[in-house]
């Protein structure tokens, strides 16, 4: 027997209003978590990126220091080698000049070149020839010149000429 003319509403554990409310709050909470996750992931990525960049920066700085060291050493090598090459060239010019200095009339038998000293052994037809043609130019180069003559049976003289450069005077 029916007591009502309408069909009875079906009873639910959660009503439609509750479901609607849950649905919207679920979306809200989901969006909040999604935002939070996004921020967290991006933060971790940035932090990781910063660590990588800092490591790269440190490596680059170390490499720059190393390269500056290499550059400095090459500069030292360059300067040092140029000094040696120049000294070799100067030495060549000095020996060239020395042999050019000796006139044809005088014959050298020995020459000893030291840093501040030149010792010449040779033969000269006369003391005057030696003094005018060799001693004079030697005196213009060296600060002190000493010559010993030894008479030879043929009337010529063998000589030993010691010439010194005084380093202190040379600096002045």
């Amino acid at each position: 027997m029916r007591y009502s003319f309408i069909k009875p509403r079906e009873k639910r554990l959660i009503s439609a209003e509750f479901q609607l409310l849950f649905f919207f709050f679920s979306i809200t909470v989901g969006m909040l978590f999604a935002s939070y996750s996004y921020l967290k992931i991006k933060t971790i990525m940035y932090e990781s990126n910063v660590e990588t960049l800092l490591a790269k920066e440190e490596t680059l700085r170390q490499n720059i220091v190393d390269m500056h060291g290499k550059i400095a050493f090459i500069e030292i090598e360059k300067q040092h080698s140029e000094g040696i090459y120049t000294a070799n060239t100067v030495l060549k010019e000095s020996i060239h000049n020395l042999f050019d200095l000796v006139p044809e009339k005088i014959t050298l038998s020995q020459a000893l070149l030291k840093e501040d000293e030149l010792v010449l052994y040779g033969v000269t037809p006369s003391k005057e020839v030696y003094e005018y043609l060799l001693l004079a130019p030697l005196r213009s180069i060296f600060h002190r010149s000493y010559t010993s003559y030894y008479a030879m049976p043929n009337g010529w003289y063998s000589f030993v000429s010691k010439n010194y450069l005084d380093r202190e005077l040379a600096v002045q």
Binding site: L21, Y36, L39, L60, E75, H80, T89, L113, K114
Partner: protein, 183 residues
């Protein structure tokens, strides 16, 4: 007029308020701080990236300079590293002399960053020109070689007997003492 609120409506409103509170608490205690953290991390990354760009530019600049210097001074750099070989040296330069002999190489001293080895030579030359040519050529040798005093010339019949010392400079001996052996 009487306004009737059903019990279910009260439950819904209560739940809505609770959910709203949860949302606000979550937003203020978790989301906003993590947002700040994110912003700081992003700023820090940008700052560090900018610094690295500057250092990278400096690195490139220094690298270019080093490469150019190495290219310009390749011979010198190689010469300071080359092990002195007396036989090779003699073969290369004996053309300037009638005879050319070298003594054994001996460690002599230190000259700053370089180790100096000394070698005594004796030779016979026909004219001083041979010695001049040798001095010109030695500047292009495989080693950094300096001719040193005393230099002795002595007449020997039609030839000139000469003797002199040479200094050979080798770099990097601080770290390569055992590595670089002179033959």
């Amino acid at each position: 007029m009487k306004f009737h609120i059903s019990r279910q409506m009260i439950y819904i409103l209560a739940l809505a308020v609770v959910c709203l509170i949860v949302v606000f608490v979550f937003a203020f205690t978790v989301l906003i701080p993590s947002g700040k953290e994110y912003r700081l991390a992003r700023m820090e990354a940008k700052k560090v990236s900018y610094q690295v760009d500057i250092i990278q530019a400096e690195y490139d600049n220094v690298y270019e300079k080093l490469k150019a210097l190495q290219a310009d001074n390749r011979h010198i750099i190689g010469a300071y590293k080359t092990i002195f070989n007396p036989d090779r040296f003699r073969k290369m330069y004996e053309k300037h002399f009638e005879s050319f002999t070298l003594s054994e190489l001996a460690r002599h001293s230190k000259d700053g960053e370089f180790t100096v080895y000394e070698v005594n030579t004796s030779s016979l030359i026909q004219s001083p020109q041979g010695f001049y040519d040798f001095l010109d050529a030695v500047n292009k040798s495989d080693n950094i070689t300096g001719i040193n005093f005393p230099i002795h010339f002595e007449r020997d019949a039609n030839l000139i007997k000469s003797s002199f010392t040479m200094h050979v400079y080798i770099a990097g001996q601080k770290s390569k003492t055992d590595e670089t052996k002179v033959e």
